[in-house]
């Protein structure tokens, strides 16, 4: 007998074509990364739009972080596509009833917006750098300022006006982009685990918490590596925002699950078998308990007891790492989880790593891309000025 085709194992009855899981870990990190973009952009906007001074130290850094993640988002989809060279078909001839068709436009618009805002945010720095350097370095900085050299009071106020406008447009765009990713899943009637009106909202809130969390971690890391003082008011501000949004996110996710269980529609038996079986640890234990309840308790206790300084920082970083795990698991449990419950509602499929361009190793490589790019970009355009002047 010939070897079995590279398919996923299953229990119960699943449709024959379901034994190969269509969407892999690439489609897990796709919403994970767009979520980090939306979340980081939100933090940046808290300063740029709402003028909350305590977020000033990370505002420009958040912008760079969002940009780096955004530039790698299309990579996840391109690696997933069977015919990536035809990807632009979706933009050249978009089929307008498809939730996917708009992605190219949304993503491109938002990426341009992010680049523009970054350009304005760093223009003055880059002009000064160009002026203070010679040779190739000078030419490089002249080029990235697009040969603008005016940093007069008037020009700078013009920059600020643009940045404010872009940030204001950016808030609905970033959240629209990510809410739309939730719609991609929530609008499908073929899967009980996905087809929910709450999906876009859940995606959005989990995006915000992941963005705040990644900034807390990166900001702390940057300060430690660069040996610069940490602005504790800023960390406290981010910690507070994380705490609040995290409680809301957990509530939404809990409500969503309660709805599925309480409605108990056809096939609820297989959903219960799934969540109490293969999904138990990665859903109840790690996503909900360790990834959400524990950080809520840590942050809550720290605020209740008015913990400050280094102790708060440690608590906030631990909570942030847990939240990053929580959101990753949420994406995994939605994307992979939805496909592990067969459409027959009579069986379960078990995801296994297909390897290659859609495998776990490729996903980790793509996921590390934004961090590497960020390390390079912060050397080209250091966002540290605000971090050190306040510290």
């Amino acid at each position: 007998m010939e070897a079995l085709y590279h398919a996923s194992p299953f229990t119960g009855y699943v449709y024959p074509n379901e034994t190969i899981i269509p969407w892999t870990v690439m489609i897990v990190i796709y919403p994970y990364m767009t979520g980090l973009v939306a979340g980081a952009f939100s933090v940046s906007s808290l300063y740029h739009v709402f003028g909350m001074e305590k977020f000033k130290p990370v505002a420009r850094f958040a912008l760079l972080t969002a940009l780096c993640f955004m530039l790698f988002v299309p990579m996840t989809l391109l690696l997933h596509l069977g015919q990536p060279q035809r990807a632009f078909n979706a933009m050249i001839t978009p089929h307008l009833t498809s939730a996917f068709a708009a992605f190219g436009y949304f993503a491109a618009f938002y990426a341009v917006l992010l680049m523009l805002e970054t350009w304005f945010a760093f223009r003055e720095d880059n002009v000064i750098r160009a002026r203070n350097s010679t040779g190739l370095v000078r030419s490089f900085y002249r080029a990235i300022t697009l040969w603008s050299d005016d940093i007069s009071e008037k020009a700078r106020s013009y920059d600020h006006k643009w940045m404010l406008t872009l940030a204001i447009v950016g808030i609905p765009s970033a959240h629209g982009l990510h809410g739309y990713v939730g719609f991609v899943f929530g609008s499908l009637k073929s899967r009980e685990w996905w087809g929910s009106d709450m999906m876009p909202v859940i995606f959005l809130f989990s995006a915000i918490i992941s963005g705040i969390a990644v900034l807390i971690v990166l900001y702390t890391l940057v300060c430690k590596v660069r040996k610069t003082p940490i602005d504790h008011a800023c960390v406290r501000g981010m910690g507070g925002a994380l705490w609040g949004f995290l409680m809301f996110t957990l509530l939404l996710e809990g409500l969503e699950f309660a709805n599925v269980v309480y409605k108990g529609k056809e096939g609820i038996e297989i959903i219960m078998e799934y969540v109490t079986g293969p999904l138990f640890y990665r859903y109840f234990v790690f996503q909900f308990a360790v990834g959400a309840v524990v950080p809520i308790i840590i942050l809550g206790l720290m605020f209740a007891r008015d913990v400050r300084g280094k102790a708060f920082l440690v608590g906030a970083v631990i909570s942030s790492l847990l939240v990053l795990m929580n959101v990753f698991l949420m994406r995994w449990n939605v994307v992979i989880g939805g496909q592990e419950i067969a459409k027959t509602m009579r069986g379960l499929v078990y995801y296994h790593d297909p390897g290659g361009r859609e495998g776990l190793a490729a996903a980790l490589a793509v996921l590390s891309g934004p961090f590497i790019l960020l390390a390079i970009l912060t050397r080209v355009m250091p966002p540290w000025k605000e971090m050190t002047e306040k510290g």
Binding site: M1, Y13, Y15, P22, Q83, A101, K343
Partner: protein, 283 residues
């Protein structure tokens, strides 16, 4: 995994048609960008809005036909000739995980409230056939006491409101004027959103061509007046195909003389694949 070469006389017509359709779709869609918004359109109704030029199939006018498919589950004996004929006719990947059509077996053991279900993809059945290219049901129930048992053939439902067409980002999958849901393999980007959206599991990703695949009702045959391969080979007449516009056709007779059902009507997909002899447990 040697694949049957695609193309040839029968297929060249379909290919040319698909190519022509793709071009027409491209230009029409480009015009639509300016006009219609994503939210301005309801459901898949735009599938009818896209009016491509008449496909260049000799002596065939797709506006004159409305194809329909009938399945009499009470007749099916689970011989799986249909599955093998389909694979051979359409060059479907010769594995136990890629099917344009398949057959399900429902068995209620004595005293059991819910049935045991399997298809030719079940590891036990693959082992029984000894090959991933030949299909059969094993004799696992030989020594068991059985209350009730039957087979249900499954196929793409060629829905009136296909969710696969709705979600396709490029329009590579589309509804034809004569009722079939087809895929332009030269235009599909392989995102598999349609695979997810289909409530029936009728679509799969072709491992060789890296695009989505599904039943076409043997479109290259039906446009020449032939029956789909699965209908042609069925030894018991469990599969019925024909033009619903023609009162004398097998399918019109089938629909007139029987009280038919469709699978998962709650999805609103409105299949044009009609069943008799289903059970509440079949979905």
């Amino acid at each position: 995994m040697k694949r049957k070469p695609k193309g040839g006389d029968i297929k060249s017509g379909r290919r040319a048609f698909l190519r022509g359709f793709g071009k027409a779709l491209a230009s029409v869609s480009a015009l639509m960008i300016g006009g219609a918004g994503l939210l301005g359109k309801k459901g898949t109704s735009d599938a009818a809005v896209i009016k491509p030029e008449i496909p260049p199939i000799p002596d065939y006018d797709w506006t004159e036909h409305d194809w329909g498919y009938g399945i009499d589950a009470t007749r099916c004996i689970g011989c799986l000739r249909c599955v093998e004929a389909c694979k051979a006719e359409n060059g479907v990947a010769p594995t136990a995980h890629h099917f344009r059509t398949w057959v399900e077996r429902y068995v209620w053991l004595e005293g059991e409230e819910r049935p045991l279900v399997d298809s030719q993809s079940d590891p036990g059945n693959i082992a029984a056939s000894g090959s991933q290219k030949e299909y059969r049901f094993d004799n696992r129930y030989q020594d068991k006491k059985i209350d009730k048992a039957f087979f249900v053939p499954k196929i793409c439902n060629h829905c009136r409101h296909p969710s696969c067409v709705q979600v396709c980002p490029t329009g590579a999958t589309f509804k034809t004027e004569d009722g079939a849901v087809l895929i332009d393999h030269d235009y599909c980007i392989g995102c598999q959103y349609c695979v997810q959206a289909c409530p029936y599991g009728a679509r799969f990703f072709d491992p060789a061509d890296q695009v989505t695949e599904k039943c076409t009702w043997c479109y290259h045959r039906i446009t020449k007046g032939l029956q789909p391969a699965c209908v042609e080979v069925c030894p018991v007449g469990a599969r019925i195909f024909g033009d619903m516009n023609n009162e004398a056709s097998d399918i019109s007779k089938f629909l007139r003389e029987n009280r038919v059902q469709v699978l998962k009507p709650e999805t609103g997909n409105a299949p044009t694949c009609f069943y008799i002899g289903l059970d509440k447990e079949v979905s």
